[in-house]
């Protein structure tokens, strides 16, 4: 069994959207879940969050940033190519209830993971405020899609080339003084998720972050993705990937994701997903 790539679309420099035939995953997928993908016969297993799925048509979409060897090889593939392995959907789905007003915060390619959560939360009747940030204008992704589901969209760029000049955390800090925010979901690089958790901590706004540790099997077997949450060891693949941002030990997550940096230099294992 292999998994055909049906279409690809460049979203930003180094960032590509893949539509992949994976009927089982498409049928069972819910927002927040991921798949494990192998790109080559001798390739590593990497987790990629599903950004969209169509159960009837049998496809899923993956938004991938080329940051290491495996994602770079994947970036070179196009419609008609096949992925040897796509397995999932794995991990717990995003908690979706009627919370009221939810701020969905995406940093860089993390926006690809935040987007399906925004869709699901809006469908449940929440008023969604999307804050999407990037280093610079070209790296802002899914802005149009977010506008379809969010009542308000705030774009930030680090260099001020688009939207508000600054970080998503600055925008969020202002937002929570301007209006009542009942819940926050943040997906992006570790410093950004840590920053979001610190912004919301004083008001104790429930804040969910989606973690990106290194994984091998993705089904609870290896324990490589273990994270410390509220002083307890949890496995991101089966207990997460979403956790209470106020309880996560980001220092340990950051350290563990550096385990293979030496290998990364010669193209080896990359931390999971689009968070880089």
């Amino acid at each position: 069994m292999s998994f055909a790539i049906l279409a690809t679309e460049p979203l930003a420099p180094q960032v590509t959207r893949f539509r992949v035939s994976a009927p089982r995953v498409a049928r069972s997928h819910r927002a927040g879940q991921f798949v494990i993908v192998r790109v080559e016969a001798n390739g590593e297993r990497i987790p990629l969050t599903v950004s969209d799925a169509d159960a009837d048509a049998g496809w899923i979409e993956l938004i991938v940033q080329a940051v290491g060897h495996t994602t770079s090889v994947m970036a070179g593939l196009g419609a008609g190519d096949e992925l040897p392995d796509v397995v999932g959907p794995l991990g717990r789905p995003t908690d979706v209830e009627a919370y009221g007003t939810v701020a969905v915060v995406g940093g860089g390619v993390g926006t690809a993971i935040a987007y399906p959560a925004a869709v699901a939360l809006a469908a449940e009747g929440n008023d969604v405020v999307a804050i999407i940030g990037a280093r610079t204008k070209e790296l802002v992704i899914l802005e149009d899609e977010m506008r379809q589901v969010a009542g308000q969209v705030i774009v930030t760029t680090d260099d001020g080339t688009k939207g508000r000049h600054g970080f998503v955390t600055d925008a969020l800090a202002d937002l929570i003084t301007e209006r009542t925010i009942d819940r926050v979901i943040a997906v992006g690089p570790i410093p950004m998720m840590r920053g979001v958790a610190e912004v919301t901590r004083p008001q104790a706004i429930p804040t969910v972050v989606s973690l990106n540790p290194i994984m091998v099997d993705g089904t609870g077997m290896c324990g490589g993705c273990r994270v410390l949450v509220g002083g307890e060891t949890r496995f991101a693949c089966v207990d997460g990937p979403e956790f209470d941002g106020h309880q996560v030990d980001f220092d340990i997550l950051d350290l563990r994701n550096r385990a293979y940096l030496e290998f990364e230099a010669c193209h080896r294992q990359e931390p999971s997903d689009a968070h880089a």
């Binding site: 959907p89 091998v216 060891t233 563990r256």
Partner: protein, 462 residues
């Protein structure tokens, strides 16, 4: 044929193994197996007991005496059929069963002399001639097997032989479960596992990889398309020590360490999956079971400067197969018995640098019947370690049971089943580590076979 007296005078034929100095540098198989001469000689030692205790101790009930009698007469093809009648994975069992606690442990010859080398004989026969797949008349019943490890494969083999239409679903990208991700090449070559799976395919068993039941499809989805389901998903959730420092870089579960090596072939230059470079560095393994031995011996092969197994009880309680312990020692693995890790320490880059250990002594027997280790107050020491492997067992993987809340789950997260492996849900059976917690390949196979018999009865009546 030798007389009884002559048999008693013969000594056990040693399994030929590659020299430790050679094998510690590669991942090729250590034990080479008997040749035709050696296997006949060894088989001719057997007293051919009329009430053989070895058969009683075999979890799958191989007719050992019948087997050995045929081997002693050089009738290997018939011997292979005898094994295949009760054991759908004999090449694997001959290599990984703890024979000293099962058939060979019960061997009458072993009371005063060395027991017959039953495991080595079984291995020879299984490797010598692949058993022909007996054609079965199809029943039209469809059975789904969840997990392609030893329990699932054994169950699939028996059900296919009974004529059922069997599909095995595997979560990983390769078939074999713990036989491929857990047990290293040097102890169980992947080609042996592939051959056994090939025989099942020849019997009509279908296999699908990359399917996680409980995620890709639910158990109820399977019950729509199949008449019965067998769950053999194993105990795949690694236990950790719960000591400070366990999140340091360089601390692995044995599952992760072995999966990177065995499944992902991290030791091969063209594999894209990395393993931390331990060339010349000290490695610690915590635990004393087969998995700990596999991890320690794998670390030797990666060029570690030293490999030490830290185990909290004494040599006598080491749960690993004796042969694995001896092989590990021959390959230079050091055993620090009666020690237990207190803390893992690292540098400011978050990398493991040392471990602090507590010396223990043996106290009163615990609920397992083994004398429980008790800390010797104040007797601690610290030793340099660059890579630590935690091999203290696995808990049942909750993925499927969480997704199927109507399945009855026991106190430790294991599935509750009756003697035939039936769960509380009609048509759903289970066996192996998901029922027992972490145990052995052969016990899982035995459970798979019992469940196959129960499923057959459920589908077609006794």
């Amino acid at each position: 044929m030798p007389t009884r007296k002559e048999r008693l005078a013969m000594s056990r034929t040693a399994m030929p193994t590659r020299p430790a100095d050679e094998r510690r540098n590669d991942f090729e198989e250590v034990a080479l197996g008997f040749d035709a001469g050696a296997v006949v000689t060894e088989a001719s030692r057997c007293l051919l007991c009329r009430r053989p205790p070895c058969v009683d101790e075999c979890p799958v009930g191989v007719q050992i005496v019948d087997l050995i009698e045929h081997v002693a007469e050089g009738r290997f093809a018939e011997a292979a059929e005898i094994v295949a009648a009760d054991n759908s994975l004999p090449s694997i069992c001959g290599r990984v069963c703890p024979q000293e606690r099962q058939c060979e442990g019960a061997c009458v010859m072993g009371r005063k002399r060395d027991p017959i080398a039953i495991g080595a004989i079984e291995r020879f026969v299984a490797d010598y001639i692949p058993p022909a797949a007996p054609a079965a008349e199809t029943t039209g019943h469809k059975v789904a097997i969840v997990g392609s490890g030893p329990a699932g494969l054994a169950c699939a083999g028996d059900l296919a032989r009974a004529g059922h239409d069997v599909t095995v679903f595997e979560a990983l990208h390769e078939l074999g479960g713990v036989l491929v991700y857990g047990i290293p090449e040097f102890r169980l070559p992947k080609s042996v596992v592939a051959d056994e799976i090939g025989r099942l395919e020849a019997q009509g068993v279908a296999f699908e990889t990359d399917v996680v039941i409980g995620a890709s499809d639910s158990l109820d989805d399977l019950l729509v398309t199949h008449d019965a389901v067998f769950i053999g998903v194993g105990a795949g959730l690694p236990r950790f020590l719960n000591v400070p420092g366990e999140h340091l870089i360089g601390v692995f579960s044995a599952n992760e360490f072995l999966t990177r090596l065995n499944l992902m072939k991290a030791y091969e230059p063209d594999s894209e999956t990395p393993i931390i470079d331990i060339g010349g560095l000290p490695v610690a393994v915590f635990g004393g079971g087969n998995t700990a031995m596999d991890a320690a011996r794998s670390a030797v092969r990666l060029g570690a400067g030293s490999v030490t197994v830290f185990y909290r009880r004494s040599d006598e309680e080491l749960p690993a197969r004796r042969e694995e312990i001896e092989h590990a020692k021959e390959e230079g693995v050091v055993f620090e018995l009666l020690t237990s890790p207190l803390e893992l320490r690292g540098n400011d880059e978050g990398k493991l640098t040392s471990v602090v250990l507590q010396r223990m002594e043996l106290g009163e027997p615990d609920e397992s019947g083994r004398r429980s280790p008790v800390p010797l107050e104040g007797d601690t020491f610290e030793t340099d370690v660059s890579l630590a492997i935690v091999a203290i067992g696995n808990a049942p993987n909750p993925l499927l049971t969480n997704a199927s809340p109507d399945l009855e789950v026991g106190r430790r997260g294991t599935l509750v089943v009756d003697d035939g492996g039936a769960t509380n849900k009609t048509g759903v059976y289970a066996g192996g580590d998901i029922v027992t917690g972490g145990a052995t390949v052969i016990l899982a196979m035995g459970a798979g076979r019992r469940a196959a018999a129960a499923i057959n009865e459920y589908l077609v009546g006794a």
